[in-house]
Structure formats: structure tokens, C-alpha cells
């Protein structure tokens, strides 16, 4: 069977003030990435990008973004991402940068990576907690996802070709 192969870029939006993350919208990211590619790679780059380019998932609470593009030229988008320095939403400009965490072949592998990554982040947060209440909260969070992992671990880690298209 012939199908179009895609790459999914799992990115994290880093802002100074986390509350401004809530303004995050699919459209603003879509336009910002498109503009960055147009600037760095010109008409040729934008034309390559536009095929099958989509923002698949935005989490306004954690700032996680999932972008889909064609496998053959995901480098174009990868190299343009560092040039994004602000996102615009409803006239408000939020200075930020996009940090590409993972490039995967399917949404599922990206999700697996995200779970692993978030767990690691929790472990890192633990020593930085200031009071007991915070510490308790993080601890219980770590515990809950570790328990979840126990169940998942049996699943094979192989990258399957499950596709959302």
C-alpha cells in the first residue's frame, strides 16, 4: 500500500509568564510557523511546506504543540522554528520561543515520548519544590504516572505505522 509519509514535530512553547500560554491557539501557531518558513526559505520553502502542513494538537495549559508535515522536507520546518520569537493572538503579541522536543513518524510515538518526557520533568521538579504542599502534589503526580507506566510497559515499544489520516 502506498501512503504519504509524514513527520510529526512535538514542540514546546516557552514563555516568560505561564499564564499567557492560555492565549495559545492553533491558528496563531499555524501562522507563525508559516511566516517563519517563508522568511527563512522563501517562496520555495512555503510551497513545500503547505502540502500536508497542519497543527494537529495544541495544549494551552502545558504549551505542547504537535505539527504535521511531509517527511521529505521536515527539515525545512525544523530549521525555521528557531526563528519564531513571538506568537500573536487577537492583537496580543506574546514573546516566546519554540523548543522542538521530538520528531516522530506517528502521533502515537510522539505521545509516548511526551509521557516519558513529562515524567522526567516531574522528577526534575521535585527538588525544586519550595514547601511541603507542593512537594506532596508532585509526589502524588509522579506516583500516579509511574503506576500507569507499569501497565503500559508490557506494550511493545516498536514504532508502528498507525496513522491518523
Amino acid at each position: 500500500m502506498v501512503r504519504f509519509k509524514s513527520r510529526y514535530l512535538l514542540c514546546e512553547v516557552c514563555v516568560e509568564n505561564r499564564s499567557s500560554l492560555l492565549l495559545l491557539e492553533e491558528k496563531s501557531i499555524y501562522l507563525a510557523v508559516k511566516a517563519a518558513v517563508a522568511r527563512a526559505h522563501g517562496d520555495y520553502g512555503s510551497a513545500l511546506l503547505i502540502v500536508s502542513y497542519a497543527v494537529k494538537y495544541v495544549n494551552a495549559h502545558t504549551g505542547i504543540v504537535l505539527i504535521r508535515c511531509r517527511k521529505s522536507h521536515y527539515r525545512i520546518i525544523c530549521s525555521a522554528l528557531p526563528f519564531i520569537n513571538s506568537l500573536e493572538n487577537r492583537g496580543q503579541k506574546v514573546p516566546c520561543f519554540l523548543n522542538c522536543l521530538h520528531v516522530g513518524g506517528t502521533i502515537r510515538t510522539c505521545q509516548k515520548f511526551l509521557v516519558k518526557y513529562s515524567t522526567q520533568q516531574l522528577h526534575r521538579m521535585l527538588p525544586q519544590c519550595k514547601n511541603e504542599a507542593e512537594r506532596d502534589e508532585v509526589r502524588s503526580a509522579v506516583l500516579s504516572c509511574s503506576l500507569g507506566k507499569e501497565r503500559d510497559v508490557e506494550e511493545d515499544e516498536m514504532e508502528d505505522d498507525w496513522e491518523d489520516e
Binding site: 526559505h41 513545500l48 530549521s79
Partner: protein, 361 residues
């Protein structure tokens, strides 16, 4: 980023090093097999004006003719075929025909008729040919190669008759031609003159231009070192420099210059003066060979320079480059060779071709 954008068509450069006195040296074959030459340019460092002996040889270069609308079959008439085409020193190339769009016709001194024709003409001609090596999946161009010295091509033979009929009746191919012939003792070109006189033609002499170079950086060359290292520059850099010199391109650029960062290849020394001499026209290999012999004698008297160079450019639209190797255009159709002659009779020979060309001999 995009690998498909970074690919380039291939090019070939053959570098040879040998000595003129070596019996095994094949430089004369390479010269005589490059049939259609459009231009030659000489660079002689530390030389103010063209030496009389070299100028004398250039004076003796054969004239060439340009004939308008000459039908191809006229060359194949019995007396012309015997006295002109098959005499071993006859060169003819269709003029102002482009190898990638028009029908191109060439007569080689070996007695071959080569026609590079498009598909329609080929099918109407009904002659045996081969698809061009440089076409895409769909063949659009064919090469018909007829050996006129073959027994089946004697006037009166069946294949000869067929060739005449197809060129005379089926497809009356005609074109402007550039014609040149080395006059020999037994043949004064009378037969050729009778043919030409039936059409409008002009006679031309190769044009000579000289130019003096002043205070130019000049790369140092060592005859024993063809590869190029810290003592001597490599072939590509040297050919680049030759090109820069012949086109009056400045070789003194700052590395920070906005326009150009081209510099003369290292190591170089300054040349107080130099001679650049170009001859343009329809030049035949016999003449180039005699010029090369004369250049070898340039070092008989002591000179300030240890080398001199001569470059011969072929016609971009000729159907052959060396011998009968098929030639095509694609991007530039370049086919040229370059001799660097050294004081001790060593020589370097560079032969270069573009993408639609076989490997030089």
C-alpha cells in the same frame, strides 16, 4: 536542505602529462581527432609581442568558406565525393544549426557523414541510424552515421543510390555550411571551387587578435606535478585562471569584497607582461598541429618563462567532439583542450567535456 536542488550534471576533465619527445605520446592524435575547432587562445607569459615565427604559422592557416543553403546531396555527387570529401582533409559543419533543436550535419575528414536529426526528419529520411545517447525515455533525436569510404557507398551501388534519393527527394536537407580543406600538392581545391561557385559563398580568413597583459598575477607551474599541491596549482584552478586572464577578470580581490572573492591560485608570482593571442574561425586540426610544433620551438632560445599555454575550443553545436564520440549541448556544450608546454618539452594536456559527451580519448 533539498538534495534535488543541489545536484549538477556531470563534467569530465582528463589531465595528461607526458613529453613531446616521447614516442608513445599521443598528443598529435588528440589534436587531429578534434575536428571542429572554433577558437584557439594562447597565453605566453613574459612576452611583449607575438613572435614572428608563430605569427607566420598563423598566416598560413587555411581559409574557410561559408556557403548558404547548400543541399547535402551535392557533397555526395560522384566527382565531389571522390576528389573532395574522401581526400582526407575535408571538413564541413552546418552553420547556425543548434545541436539541441535543429538538424546538424557534419563531414569528417575520415570520410564519414554524420547527421544529427530530429525524430520527424529521421523517419522521413529512411536511413539507418541510432537513437541519440542523450535523450530521455522518449527518443527525440537520432544520429545517422554514414561511412562514405565503405564499398557499398561507391557511386552506383544500391545503398549509395538510396542515400542520394533520400537526401534529394524524400528530405531535401539543406543548410548553411562552414567548409575548410587542407590543400595538398595533388589537389588545389578546384573541384570544391566548382561546387561552391553554384551557390552564394564567402571566403574568410581566421581572425587574429592579440592583447597584452600587464602586471598580472600568474600561477607557478612545475611540469612534474600534475596533481597540484602547495608548490603548484591543480588543473581546475589553472583552467579557471586561464579563463580569468582571457576574459580580463580581475584576480586581485579582497576576501571581504562584496562583489567577488576570486583570487589567483597559490602559489603565484607577478608577471610583468604577458601575451594573450586568440584566433577565431573554422580552424582545422592540421593547422593547429603545425602551430603546436612551432610553439615547441619557442623554448629553443632561452626565455623568461618556463611554460606557455594554448587552448582550443570546439564548436558547441558540433555533432561529434573527439573522433566520432557523440556530442550534445545540455547546458554549455563545452568541448575543449588545453596544452601547457614546458621548457623541457614536457607537456600537460587537459581535455574537458560537458554533460552530453563521451569521455575524451
Amino acid at each position: 536542505m533539498s538534495p534535488e536542488l543541489e545536484r549538477c550534471s556531470r563534467n569530465l576533465l582528463i589531465c595528461e602529462k607526458s613529453n613531446f619527445r616521447d614516442e608513445r605520446a599521443r598528443y598529435d592524435i588528440h589534436v587531429s581527432k578534434h575536428f571542429f575547432n572554433y577558437k584557439l587562445s594562447m597565453v605566453i607569459p613574459e612576452c611583449a609581442s607575438l613572435p614572428a615565427c608563430i605569427a607566420g604559422v598563423i598566416q598560413t592557416f587555411s581559409s574557410y568558406y561559408r556557403v548558404r543553403d547548400l543541399p547535402v546531396y551535392k557533397f555526395l555527387q560522384e566527382d565531389i565525393l571522390q576528389k573532395v570529401v574522401k581526400n582526407g582533409h575535408f571538413y564541413a559543419l552546418s552553420y547556425n544549426t543548434r545541436i539541441d533543436e535543429d538538424n546538424t550535419i557534419a563531414f569528417l575528414p575520415s570520410g564519414h557523414l554524420i547527421m544529427s536529426v530530429n525524430k520527424d526528419t529521421y523517419e522521413q529520411l529512411g536511413l539507418e541510424g541510432k537513437p541519440s545517447q542523450y535523450t530521455h525515455r522518449k527518443v527525440q533525436r537520432y544520429v545517422v552515421n554514414v561511412d562514405l569510404t565503405d564499398k557499398s557507398m561507391t557511386p552506383g551501388a544500391k545503398t549509395y543510390q538510396r542515400l542520394i534519393t533520400s537526401l534529394k527527394e524524400w528530405v531535401p536537407l539543406k543548410s548553411d555550411f562552414l567548409i575548410s580543406m587542407k590543400m595538398t600538392a595533388e589537389d588545389d581545391g578546384g573541384a570544391l571551387q566548382t561546387l561552391l561557385s553554384q551557390y552564394s559563398f564567402e571566403e574568410y580568413r581566421p581572425t587574429l587578435q592579440t592583447h597584452t597583459l600587464k602586471e598580472t598575477p600568474c600561477p607557478s607551474l612545475h611540469s612534474s606535478n600534475l596533481h597540484g599541491d602547495e608548490k603548484s596549482c591543480d588543473a581546475h584552478r589553472f583552467l579557471e585562471w586561464l579563463g580569468a586572464v582571457s576574459m580580463d577578470i580581475s584576480c586581485n580581490n579582497e576576501a571581504s569584497s562584496f562583489l567577488s572573492t576570486y583570487v589567483c591560485p597559490e602559489p603565484w608570482s607577478s608577471m610583468s607582461q604577458g601575451l594573450l593571442c586568440t584566433v577565431t574561425g573554422f580552424l582545422i586540426p592540421e593547422d593547429i598541429h603545425s602551430l603546436l610544433l612551432e610553439l615547441r620551438h619557442y623554448f629553443d632560445q632561452p626565455k623568461f618563462t618556463s611554460w606557455l599555454s594554448i587552448t582550443v575550443h570546439g564548436f558547441a553545436d558540433s555533432p561529434v567532439s573527439w573522433g566520432m564520440t557523440e556530442h550534445g549541448f545540455l547546458k554549455g556544450g563545452e568541448n575543449f583542450y588545453n596544452f601547457v608546454c614546458f621548457e623541457n618539452q614536457d607537456y600537460w594536456l587537459h581535455m574537458a567535456t560537458g554533460s552530453h559527451d563521451g569521455c575524451p580519448p
